[in-house]
Amino acid sequence: MKEDILLEVKNLKTHFITSKGTAKAVDGLDFVLKKGETLGIVGESGCGKSITSLSILRLIPSPPGKIVDGQILLHGKDLVEMSDQEIRKIRGNQISMIFQEPMTSLNPVIPVGEQIAEALRLHQKLSRKQAWEKAVEMIRLVGIPAPEKRAKQEPYQLSGGMRQRVMIAMALACTPEVLIADEPTTALDVTIQAQILELMKDLQRKIGMGIIFITHDLGVVAEMCDKVAVMYAGQIVEYQTTANLFKTPLHPYTQGLIGSLPKLYEDQEELQIIEGTVPSPYDYPTGCRFADRCPFVQDLCRNQQPEIIHVEDSQQVRCWKYTDQWKEELVKEEVIL
C-alpha cells in the first residue's frame, strides 16, 4: 500500500571528500519505512549507519560530507532537495533523532529540562510554563526519578544513562512521525531499557510512528523490529523480516554476526569472531566488499560486485551464492581442479 509509506530512501550515496581521498560512507542505499513499522539497521562499526541517519536529517557536516546521489522521500517529498529553512521545520518535529553519543547533542551548560522545553517551544505553540511542565513530564516518562529536580540539572550532573534518557525524552517530546534512534539504549540497564522500548512501542501504537532503530544488540532487534537491514561497508547486504533473519540468515556476514554473540546459556573460553577487518571506505575492492573475510569466496566474488537480489518474497541478499552464476562458478572450479 503506497499511502502507508512514510519514508523512502532511494540509492542514497553520502561521501566525504577529503584531501586524503573520498570516503564512500554510504554507497547506494534503498529502503522503505511504513507507518507504524520498526526497521532495524545493524552492521559492523563504521559501515555507515549513523551517516545514513544524519543524511536523512541533512545533518552531514559539509564540507567534507555530501549527499552525492539519491533521494530521501518523506510522504513523497524529497528532503535532499529542500531548502535549509524547510528542513529545519521537519527536524525535531516530523522526524526526530536520538543520537548515539548524548554529549554531541546536549548543550553542556544548560539545564536539561530547559533544553527539552526549548525544543518543544520551537515546534509547538506552548507558553514557557506549559513547555517546562511538558519537559518535566517527559523526563518522568523515561523513568528518571525526581524529574522536577533533574530537569534543573546540567548534563554533567547526570549519569550516562540519564543523559541518554534525556535525549530520548527530547526526541519523543514532539511526537514525531519518524523517529530515528541511533543506539538509543546502549547505556541503559535491561530493566530501564525494557521500559524505554515499551514507551516507544506505546507511542508507535498511538500515533503510528515509524521507527528506524539502529543497534548492535540483536536481542533488542528481536524484541523491537519488524524488519532488519544488515549493512556492510556502506551498503545493505541483507534485508529480511526479523523472524526470518534469525532463523535463516542468508549473507555470510550476517551468519558470522549471529555466531559471535556471547551465549548466555553456555560457557565459552573465546568468543567466535569474524576474522579480518572491513575494507576502508576510501578504497573499496571491485568485487564483493566482504570477500576478504568470507569463508565461501570464489573468483567470481572478487571480480564483480553482487547486486541485491530477491531470494524469496520478503528476503533480499547481496551475495553471489544465491545466484545461478554460483553453480556455474563451482562447476568451473571443479574442472580446474
Partner: protein, 333 residues
C-alpha cells in the same frame, strides 16, 4: 571466597567509600540537597581478576570508577592501591599511578581531544608515562591499531572522522598504550557491534592472561558480564546489594533485585519462555533514598522490618555476599 583469590593480596582495596554531591538548592532558605551517589561501599580487587559492576542507571557505578581514579575527592572512606592510600599520595605519586590505572569511558566523544590526530594522542600518552623510547613507539602504535581492529592509516585522522564505535576503540587503544595494571572499563564495549565486541573481549582476556591485568568492568550487558567476569558486584542506589563469584551469582542469585535484573535480559530466541519479574514502583531518587532496605519500595517481599532496618552485606555462602534480611528464605524459591 574462591581460594585462588583469597591467597592473593588485593591490588586495590576500597573501604567504606562515600561520594556525595551537593545539588543547588531550590530556593535560598531551603536546606542543601545531597545526592548520595555512592554511600559506603567496600570491596577488594585482586590482581588478575575481572570484577564487574552491574546495576540500574544512576546507582553509582561510574562514580565508583571515578573515585578509584581519584578524579573526585571521596567524601569519606579510603582507597588503597598496593597498600598505599590514594588520599595520602602526593601529586607526583598520583601522576605515576595514573599510568597504572587506566579508564575507558562510556562516552568516547567527550574524552578525546578533537584537535589531536590518533597518532599524536597515542604518542603523547606513551611519552607522558614514559613507556617506550620514541623510536619504538611507531611499531607499538601499529600493533595497538591492529589489536582494536582499526586500519593503520587511520593514525593520521582526527576523532570527528570516525564512527561512534571506532572512537570507542581509539579510547581502548589509548588506555592500552601505557601498559596499565588496572583498567576500569566503563561501558567500554557497549557501543560496538557484536563481532568487534567479541574481538575486543578476546583481546582483553588475552592481555589479562599474559600480563596479569586487572579489570573493573562496568556494564549493563549481562551476557557480556557473564562471559568476561570472575566476580560480579550488584549495586542499587549507591550500595552493594550482592557480590559473588560469577557462577554462583548467575546460577543462584540471592537478592530480589538481582533476580529481577537477570530475568529481564533480552534474548534472541523469542520462543524461550521466561518468567520476567517486572519491578513495580518508581525508581527512588538518590536525593531522597528510602529508609531501611533501599530496595523495599519495589521489592515484592518487603516487610516492616525492611522499611525500618537496613540489611547489612553478609556472607551467606562461601564467597557469596548479599544484603537482604530474608536472603536465606528467598534463596529457596
Amino acid at each position: 571466597m574462591n581460594t585462588l583469590l583469597s591467597s592473593k593480596k588485593p591490588i586495590l582495596k576500597v573501604s567504606n567509600l562515600k561520594q556525595y554531591f551537593i545539588v543547588k538548592r531550590e530556593a535560598l532558605f531551603q536546606p542543601k540537597q545531597v545526592v548520595k551517589a555512592v554511600d559506603g561501599i567496600s570491596f577488594d580487587l585482586y590482581p588478575g581478576e575481572t570484577l564487574s559492576i552491574v546495576g540500574e542507571s544512576g546507582c553509582g557505578k561510574s562514580t565508583t570508577g571515578r573515585s578509584i581514579l581519584h578524579l573526585d575527592e571521596p567524601t569519606e572512606g579510603e582507597i588503597l592501591y598496593k597498600d598505599v592510600s590514594l588520599t595520602e599520595m602526593s601529586k607526583k605519586e598520583l601522576r605515576n599511578i595514573r599510568g597504572d590505572i587506566q579508564v575507558i569511558f562510556q562516552d568516547p566523544f567527550a574524552s578525546l581531544n578533537p584537535r589531536r590526530t590518533i597518532r599524536q594522542m597515542l604518542d603523547e600518552a606513551m611519552a607522558i608515562q614514559k613507556v617506550l623510547p620514541p623510536k619504538q613507539r611507531e611499531a607499538r602504535m601499529l600493533e595497538l591499531m591492529q589489536n582494536v581492529g582499526l586500519r593503520p592509516e587511520y593514525l593520521e585522522r582526527y576523532p570527528h572522522e570516525f564512527s561512534g564505535g571506532q572512537r570507542q576503540r581509539i579510547g581502548i587503544a589509548r588506555a592500552l598504550a601505557v601498559n596499565p595494571k588496572v583498567i576500569i572499563c566503563d561501558e567500554a564495549v557497549s557501543a560496538l557491534d557484536v563481532s568487534i565486541q567479541a574481538q575486543i573481549l578476546n583481546l582483553l582476556k588475552r592481555l589479562q592472561n599474559d600480563f596479569d591485568l586487572t579489570f573493573l568492568f562496568i556494564s549493563h550487558d549481562l551476557s557480556i558480564v557473564k562471559h568476561i567476569s570472575d566476580r560480579v558486584m550488584v549495586m542499587y542506589l549507591g550500595k552493594i546489594v550482592e557480590i559473588s563469584d560469577k557462577a554462583s551469582l548467575f546460577k543462584n542469585p540471592l537478592h530480589p533485585y538481582t533476580k529481577a535484573l537477570l530475568s529481564a535480559i533480552p534474548v534472541i530466541d523469542q520462543t524461550i519462555k521466561r518468567e520476567r519479574i517486572l519491578l513495580k514502583g518508581d525508581v527512588p531518587s538518590p536525593l531522597n533514598p528510602p529508609t531501611g532496605c533501599r530496595f523495599h519500595t519495589r521489592c515484592p517481599f518487603a516487610t516492616d522490618l525492611c522499611r525500618d532496618e537496613e540489611p547489612l552485606l553478609r556472607e551467606l555462602e562461601s564467597g557469596h555476599l548479599v544484603a537482604c534480611h530474608f536472603a536465606e528464605k528467598l534463596s529457596a524459591i
